[in-house]
Assembly symmetry: C2
Homo-oligomer: 192 residues x 2
Amino acid sequence: MTESDAGLRARLIDVGAELLAAEGPQALTLREIARRAGVSHGAPRRYFPTHLELLSAIARRGFTDLGERVRAVLAREASAGPRDRVAALARTYLDFALGSPGMYELMFRHDILESGHLGLRETSLPLFGVLVELVGEVRPEGDARRVAGALWANLHGAAQLWRWRSLQLALGEKDFAPLVETVLLAHLGRDR
Amino acid sequence: MTESDAGLRARLIDVGAELLAAEGPQALTLREIARRAGVSHGAPRRYFPTHLELLSAIARRGFTDLGERVRAVLAREASAGPRDRVAALARTYLDFALGSPGMYELMFRHDILESGHLGLRETSLPLFGVLVELVGEVRPEGDARRVAGALWANLHGAAQLWRWRSLQLALGEKDFAPLVETVLLAHLGRDR
DNA sequence: TCCCGCCGATAGACACTGTCTACTTACGGC
DNA sequence: GCCGTAAGTAGACAGTGTCTATCGGCGGGA
């Protein structure tokens, strides 16, 4: 019952995720994944009719990983105030994006999301629901959904612009934290 | 002196930009661009040693187009207040991103930015400088650079999440404008 | 025990891609 | 008129995703 005799379907996703972390998204060739899984290049087709579907499955693992991390952090911070919990969620999100850049990029490739084979868009909905709820606690007077949407967009944009160093260049800074504070301040208001 | 006898270098960029708008980034094959330009597949190599450099040149056109549009809008709104000018800049930026999705996506492909052949990152700096200046006028009390960076990230993230319909799904909305207002409000404060 | 059928995987073909290289063509300066 | 250089051509090459024919082994029925 070692890893090697797990089902090929799962093994392909495992190998793909490793390859993604090690060499980036452009290395995620169908044939290379098959090679590293020790099967012929036609084998994946039995489980993933198309290359894009295999990539979607790998990206889906990224979404579930991110969701688990966020849930774990929120559970740990259960006793903290809502603002701190939103901050913790935001930092976890950004840690993931900056710590697993390849996976994050794959997760948000529009052709993967658009293909819709695995309902990836829907996978992030519960996470967004949590964010909406927390934002509603922090700012009960506003439209929580919209504020949460704006905050999510801000986190996503900050992660991407930071990752390809455009923001470093523009801000002349190397530390990400102050920008995160600015973002949180903008959407959540000043701390009480 | 028709378009067809312009230099091949410029024609390749023209053809590429058209193809990009018509069929999206995945259609931007080196060979297909050469085909539509009426030359052999080896011809582009004389001007763009690598496929990535041709893509970079096309993306660079996107950056200059965006810069021109923003400058034109700001010139038209010269008499407006700084907050309205920031709002106009933001809407222009988002119009570009949503109206030319293929170009926008190409412009922010990290491997293109990272390749650095054409200094694309630096191309967006003057635009960012304008934003910093305007933000400084709206909120003289804060750190304009950081607020401008957060706003830029928010615009970028909103454009991308909206484009692949994640935000529509999360917000249950079809109209982009209210979210833009929320974003502007968050970073610029309430209008006076 | 034999045989059949099916499932999982293999191997090769196909069209296509980006890159590289040898070749041809055309034009301007002497 | 000739030659050298620059621009574009054409073909080869390895690699890719997809498709199809084939093969091996295993389980169930006679």
